[in-house]
Structures are given as structure tokens and as C-alpha cells.
């Protein structure tokens, strides 16, 4: 019969059917009978190989729990990670969990699964979580994610100790040895000393590389400087505290005076400019995680072996260390929340956190201050102990900070992203306005942000 003839077309049709049926009925090898599939988007690490720790940890956990864990690593270049989060929040579809940049847990709080049970167990084991992480992640009394180790950074001073010794007469290695204690003269490491050193290094042609633009490195160090002067733009309720605020005026004035000793193009610097300034040997000091030193180790070892990381200077209100944490949050529309929680709890354990930090060469800082004693920070070289003072330690007598805290996070986020602290200094130092005019502008901007 004509209809039953074995033609090329019939063969193809039958073949396609067989392949389709086979594909649809294929077993999910990793998930047989148990945890199904979890899809997680993690931040794509700057440090080469920095993602390997999470890949291995997730693979191990998946194997043990018979769950298929699919990972995507999304970078923050061009704000790709932030855009992905925004798109997933709008469409209510996407990964089960996602790394969120510092302010985003607050932005999407309503769509994030509370993880208080996970946090309670972790806190019971490792003690309190970093208060800045709590400020950023906790909303209406609920934890909206698990503060992450991977990607979380602080920004102490990475100093060319030889240049500071030569031009400013300051021996930072003696002040802040890699021994878990303050050395002689550490109590003089304040913003006044810093200003004099900045002037001396500027005269010597190796100015401090401090960005003053609108990127996070600039906002972070200026934020810590403001806090150490006791300068707040708003109170905890978001009420502006600009009028008659002498501390704020002092902080702005300090920023203006310091700017005179910085390279004249710092107003356009991005987050990589300070790294380049240090690595090229043009700068005696930057505020940065150890990534600048790590790249120098690869590209300009002569510079790397003369770097020493020390805490930020202290001010009248204390010493603050700029801190920028990532959070891994579970979408409320995620399909496998229980398993995702278990995975996040696993990667937050001390062993996992130490493995993550080690893989990143010491860049990543776990959210628990009790974990500031990982060996990697003592052993990294050259010179040995160069990043010993990278995470905040008790003898630093400092606090972690984020710019514009303690303003309500929704408001602080807007001030941070729009870099109000660097702009107010720039309006005076570069724009020629008086401090009063600049503070007037600041108050008007703030009042606008408070509306709506």
C-alpha cells in the first residue's frame, strides 16, 4: 500500500518522534527520587578561579543530597547582576536563589523568602552576624537572605609602606604588625596624620589614589571618613540633620582639604582607577580589598612586595572600615525553597566559608566576625602578613560601616547610589561653591528623595 511505503520522509518523521519521546522521558540523573533541581545565580568573582569554591561546594552538597544544582555566575560589570535581579523580580520568574548586591535585599524584600531559621542556627554556632549585613538584609524583623562570604569585601588602606616611610616618616608595618595587636604609634593613625601624609606624598609625586567620583570605592571611603567624624546626613528615621551640623561641615571641609593633595582627575575615577594607580607604582596608598595587591603580585611584583594593608584612619568619632557585603536570597516564587535554604546553610558553615575565602586568595570576608581568624590572611605574601589586617579584628578598635547608615536603608540606598557624599565635596572642591551652598543642595536633594 502506498500509505505504508518506507519513504525517506516517513523515516525522518518516525526518527524525530523516537528522539522526542526519548528526550522527554530521560531521567534527571542527579535528582532521582529526592531533591529535584535548584538554580542559583551567584556573583561572578573578580578573582580568577574565585568561583571554583562555590562550584565545588554546590557539587558536593548536590551529590550528598541527591539534588541537581545548576549554577550561573553573573558579573556586576555593566550592572548585569542588578539587571537580572530586577528582571526576575518584575517577571516573578528565574533562579531559585540569587546573589544580591548590598542594597538589593531591601529593594526586593517583599519578594524574598525569610530565612530566619537558617540564620538562627548559624548565629547559634558562630555568634552574631556583622551588624552592617544585618542593617542591609533584615527587613521588618525578618532576614531576607543569608549574608554571603563570596564577594563580600572591606576596604582598608593598602599602603606602599616604603613610600609612606620615605616621604611621610610613617612606618605602617610597625604600627599595624601581622601579630594581632597594635604596634607603637598606631594610636596616631588618624585622619589628621593621614592628611599630612597625603600632602607629603603628593609633593613627592606619589599622591594617594582616592577616587572622588560616583562609583562605590569613592562612596565607601568617603562614607567611612564621614562616620569617623560623627557626620550623619540624616538620623535613623531619615530626618535630615544637615542644618547646623558642625560635624558634617567638618567632614566636608576635611574632604575638600584632602582633595587638594589627590591627583586632579580623581573626580572621574572609577573602581579600577585606584587599583591601576597602585599597581603602576604611581600611588602610595589606596582604599581597596586585596585585589589591587593581588594583581600587582602578578603584573608588578616589585610593587606588591612593598604593600601592607592597614585599617582606615580614626576620626573624632572612632575608626570605621568600609564594608560591602553580598547576600544570597531566595525568591518567594522559587520552586525549591527548602532545598535552597539547606544549600545556603551549607555554604555558610565555617569550613565552607574558609574554603571560599582561601580560593579567593583572602578577598572574601565571611559575615561572622568570629571567622576573622582564617589562616590565609596571616600567610599571604609577599611580604608575609601583608593582608593580615584586611578583615576587621578586635585590636583595630574599629567598626564595620556602610556609607549613609544609620539612615533607613531605602533612603540610604538612594543617597549611596547617587553618591551624595562625594558630590557634596566635589561641589566645593571642584565646583567652587561654598560649604553652605553645597550643604543647601544636599538638603534639597535629600528632601526630594524622601518624597514619593
Amino acid at each position: 500500500m502506498a500509505g505504508h511505503r518506507l519513504t525517506r520522509r516517513n523515516m525522518l518523521r518516525s526518527g524525530a518522534g523516537v528522539i522526542a519521546a526519548g528526550t522527554l522521558s530521560a531521567p534527571m540523573v542527579h535528582a532521582q527520587g529526592t531533591g529535584g533541581t535548584i538554580r542559583v545565580a551567584f556573583w561572578d568573582h573578580w578573582v580568577p578561579g574565585g568561583n571554583d569554591a562555590l562550584k565545588k561546594l554546590c557539587a558536593d552538597w548536590g551529590e550528598k543530597n541527591r539534588t541537581n544544582v545548576q549554577l550561573d555566575f553573573i558579573n556586576t560589570t555593566g550592572n548585569q547582576l542588578q539587571l537580572t535581579a530586577a528582571a526576575q523580580a518584575q517577571s516573578r520568574q528565574g533562579h531559585d536563589a540569587i546573589s544580591l548586591s548590598p542594597w538589593d535585599p531591601g529593594t526586593y524584600a517583599d519578594q524574598l523568602e525569610p530565612v530566619d531559621d537558617v540564620i538562627e542556627r548559624l548565629v547559634a554556632k558562630y555568634g552574631p552576624i556583622n551588624p552592617i549585613a544585618e542593617f542591609l538584609v533584615k527587613r521588618n524583623g525578618k532576614w531576607r537572605g543569608v549574608p554571603a562570604t563570596s564577594g563580600t569585601q572591606a576596604k582598608p588602606a593598602c599602603v606602599r609602606y616604603d613610600l609612606l616611610q620615605e616621604h611621610a616618616g610613617i612606618d605602617v608595618r610597625a604600627m599595624w604588625p601581622a601579630e594581632g595587636k597594635m604596634g607603637p604609634g598606631a594610636e596616631t593613625w588618624n585622619w589628621d596624620t593621614f592628611l599630612k601624609a597625603a600632602e607629603a606624598c603628593h609633593k613627592a609625586g606619589v599622591p594617594f589614589g582616592l577616587p572622588m567620583g560616583q562609583f562605590s570605592d569613592a562612596v565607601d571611603w568617603v562614607g567611612a571618613m564621614f562616620l569617623s567624624h560623627g557626620a550623619h546626613i540624616t538620623d535613623e528615621k531619615g530626618k535630615p540633620t544637615i542644618k547646623g551640623n558642625d560635624k558634617l561641615r567638618q567632614a566636608v571641609d576635611y574632604g575638600v582639604r584632602l582633595a587638594k593633595f589627590l591627583p586632579n582627575d580623581v573626580w572621574a575615577w572609577d573602581d579600577a582607577s585606584n587599583n591601576r594607580a597602585l599597581i603602576s607604582g604611581r600611588s602610595a596608598l589606596v582604599f581597596n580589598p586585596p585585589s589591587a595587591w593581588a594583581v600587582a603580585k602578578r603584573d608588578n611584583p616589585a610593587v606588591a612586595e612593598k604593600c601592607w594593608t592597614v585599617p582606615m584612619p580614626a576620626g573624632p568619632a572612632g575608626r570605621f572600615l568600609a564594608y560591602l557585603p553580598f547576600t544570597t536570597s531566595i525568591w518567594s516564587f522559587g520552586k525549591n525553597k527548602t532545598a535552597t535554604k539547606a544549600l545556603l546553610e551549607f555554604i555558610s558553615q565555617r569550613d565552607s566559608a574558609e574554603f571560599t575565602t582561601n580560593t579567593s586568595g583572602g578577598y572574601d570576608i565571611p559575615p561572622f566576625p568570629s571567622m576573622a581568624d582564617f589562616k590565609i590572611w596571616e600567610t599571604q605574601s609577599p611580604p608575609v602578613g601583608t593582608i593580615s589586617n584586611y578583615p576587621l579584628k578586635p585590636h583595630h578598635q574599629a567598626k564595620y560601616s556602610i556609607a549613609f547608615s544609620p539612615a533607613p536603608p531605602e533612603l540610604a540606598q538612594q543617597m549611596y547610589i547617587q553618591a551624595l557624599n562625594t558630590k557634596v565635596i566635589a561641589r566645593v572642591a571642584q565646583g567652587g561653591e561654598s560649604i553652605d551652598q553645597a550643604l543647601g543642595w544636599l538638603e534639597r536633594e535629600l528632601n526630594n528623595m524622601l518624597r514619593g
Binding site: 582627575d265 547610589i417 547617587q418
Partner: protein, 314 residues
């Protein structure tokens, strides 16, 4: 009289009793029905990719920051009271109008140059001159950023080599604005060039010959022959470029991120900063919607001019 589908159907229908099947058939064979069906994919695309997002953006712009309640037009009022946003409006206009004028002038000049090159050599030049337009802007802008880099600018290296001082390309407001415009003009000029070249090639040679016989100079030929013949294409090109330039995002984002002191922000970069990065999507939507009335006014006048000229020519 030429017969068309409508008249044929009408003629056939007049002699026969109306039957339901035939009525449906007649309806399906109507020109307007066929046209509608054929345009349906386009209508769906415009509805899905233009009308719906625009409507959604308008809806978003009426919400509060948490997107939990409507606040009407409050976001627009807040923006208009913001010094920074008023500056963004001003800057966007300076950026768009100056860049479009420069692109149009340079494109016109390049098109003329190319038009007078023999056809054989023209292809190579045309291809080379189109390159800036073909390269993805985010990549080419990154190249410019390396040239303008605050600390390691290759342009400054050349300037220093000839004894000139360094230029703060991105650090000083005036230079930063100029740099952004330079890159936009570099990337957008080839579009004008190719459009004007096509227009120049369509001007009949007889008009120039007639003008030459009447003793017209080269300038008069340009003024009274070339420009009038190109008016429509110039208008449409300028309008199209104005829309694209107003909505430009990548150049500002890569070169200056809106700095220094917000002095290079344009609508799109500021909308992204306020909307996505600062977590205030309704206000970001309101920022981006501010472009609409400005462009609508420009589009109205340009398209009216084009239609008038078309009617005159018809």
C-alpha cells in the same frame, strides 16, 4: 477603470441572493480585511514591543517607591523640583541637539566627498567610513574610554609628546560633556553619511546640467538644487537620529557614569541610576517618560513638514 477585488466582489454579489457563506467570503476578500490580516503581525509586534511597554512605563510612573499605591503624577512633580533633574533635561537637550547637528553636517560633508569619488574606489571608503556605526557602541566606547582614561589617556600621551598639556577629558565638566558628544558624533556620523549619499545619488544629473547652463555656481547648485531635493531625507534622518541620541545610554554609562557631579547625565543614564540602581523604579520610569513629550513635539513638526512637501510635489 481598473478592476480591483472590491469591485469584482460587489458586482458578483449584486446579482445573487445573499447567502451567509458568501457574505463571509466577501468579507474575507475585501481589501481592508486582507490588509488588516496582513498587517496583523506588525500590529502584534508594535502592540507587544512598543504600546504595552509604553503603557506599563506610564503605569509604573504613577506608583510610589514601594510600588504599592498610586501617587498620580507626583513623581513628575518631584522630578521637576529637583535641581539635578532639571540639569539632566538641559544636558540631554544640549547633548542631543549638538550631537545631531554635528553628525548632520559631518555626514553631509562626507557624503559629498564620497559622491565625487569614482565608483570603483568609493566602496572601500564607504566601508571604512561605516565602521564606527557598525561596531557595537559599548565596545567602541570602551576604546574611547581608554583614550580618555583619566590617568593613562593615550590622547594625552600624544599631546604631551608634542609639548601640549594634558586635557582632563573626563574629569572636568566641560571636557567631559565634549568627550561624550565627540564619541556620539563619531559613532553616528556614518548613518547620516550613508543616508545622504543615497539621497545625493537620487538627484537627477539633468537638474545640475540645467543649473550649470543657467550659470549657477557650485554653491548655488548646492543651495537651490541639492538641498531642496534632499529636504525630506534630511528631515527624516535628523528626526530618527534625534530620537536615538536622546535615548542614548551606553556612551554616558561607559565614559563618565554621569559624572563629574551629574554634569554629563542624560535621561537614559539618569533613569537607570534612579530606577534600577537606587531601587526607585517608578521614578526611573518617570525620568524616561520625560523624553516623550520633547520628541513628540519635534516629530510632529518634522513629519508635518515632510507631508507638506510630499503633497506639494504630488
Amino acid at each position: 477603470m481598473a478592476l480591483d477585488a472590491t469591485t469584482v466582489t460587489a458586482g458578483a454579489a449584486s446579482g445573487a441572493p445573499a447567502r451567509p457563506g458568501l457574505t463571509l467570503q466577501r468579507f474575507a476578500r475585501r481589501r481592508s480585511t486582507i490588509a488588516f490580516i496582513m498587517a496583523l503581525p506588525l500590529i502584534a509586534v508594535i502592540g507587544g514591543l512598543v504600546a504595552w511597554p509604553a503603557g506599563y512605563a506610564i503605569y509604573l510612573s504613577t506608583l510610589n517607591r514601594r510600588m504599592t499605591a498610586s501617587i498620580g503624577l507626583e513623581n513628575f512633580a518631584i522630578l521637576l523640583e529637583s535641581e539635578t533633574f532639571r540639569m539632566v533635561i538641559w544636558q540631554s537637550c544640549i547633548f542631543a541637539f549638538s550631537a545631531v547637528v554635528l553628525k548632520a553636517l559631518l555626514g553631509f560633508w562626507l557624503a559629498h566627498m564620497l559622491h565625487h569619488i569614482p565608483t570603483k574606489g568609493q566602496r572601500i571608503w564607504r566601508g571604512m567610513l561605516l565602521l564606527p556605526w557598525v561596531v557595537p557602541p559599548a565596545l567602541s566606547t570602551l576604546g574611547w574610554w581608554w583614550m580618555f582614561d583619566p590617568s593613562y589617556s593615550s590622547l594625552n600621551w600624544i599631546l604631551n609628546a608634542i609639548g601640549a598639556p594634558s586635557v582632563p577629558w573626563l574629569g572636568e565638566p566641560w571636557w567631559a560633556r565634549t568627550s561624550v558628544i565627540i564619541v556620539n558624533v563619531w559613532a553616528g556620523t556614518p548613518f547620516f553619511m550613508i543616508m545622504y549619499l543615497a539621497a545625493l545619488k537620487s538627484v537627477p544629473d539633468q537638474l545640475y546640467e540645467a543649473a550649470a547652463i543657467d550659470g549657477a555656481t557650485g554653491w548655488q547648485g548646492l543651495r537651490y538644487v541639492t538641498l531642496p531635493m534632499m529636504r525630506n531625507i534630511i528631515s527624516i534622518t535628523v528626526l530618527f537620529s534625534l530620537i536615538v541620541t536622546f535615548a542614548n545610554y551606553d556612551i554616558v554609562r561607559v565614559l563618565t557614569n554621569g559624572g563629574p557631579r551629574d554634569l554629563t547625565h542624560v535621561f537614559a543614564s539618569y533613569a537607570f541610576q534612579v530606577g534600577v540602581l537606587s531601587g526607585n523604579i517608578p521614578r526611573g520610569a518617570a525620568v524616561s517618560l520625560f523624553m516623550f513629550p520633547i520628541l513628540a513635539v519635534v516629530a510632529f513638526f518634522v513629519l508635518r513638514g515632510v507631508n507638506q512637501r510630499n503633497r506639494e510635489m504630488a
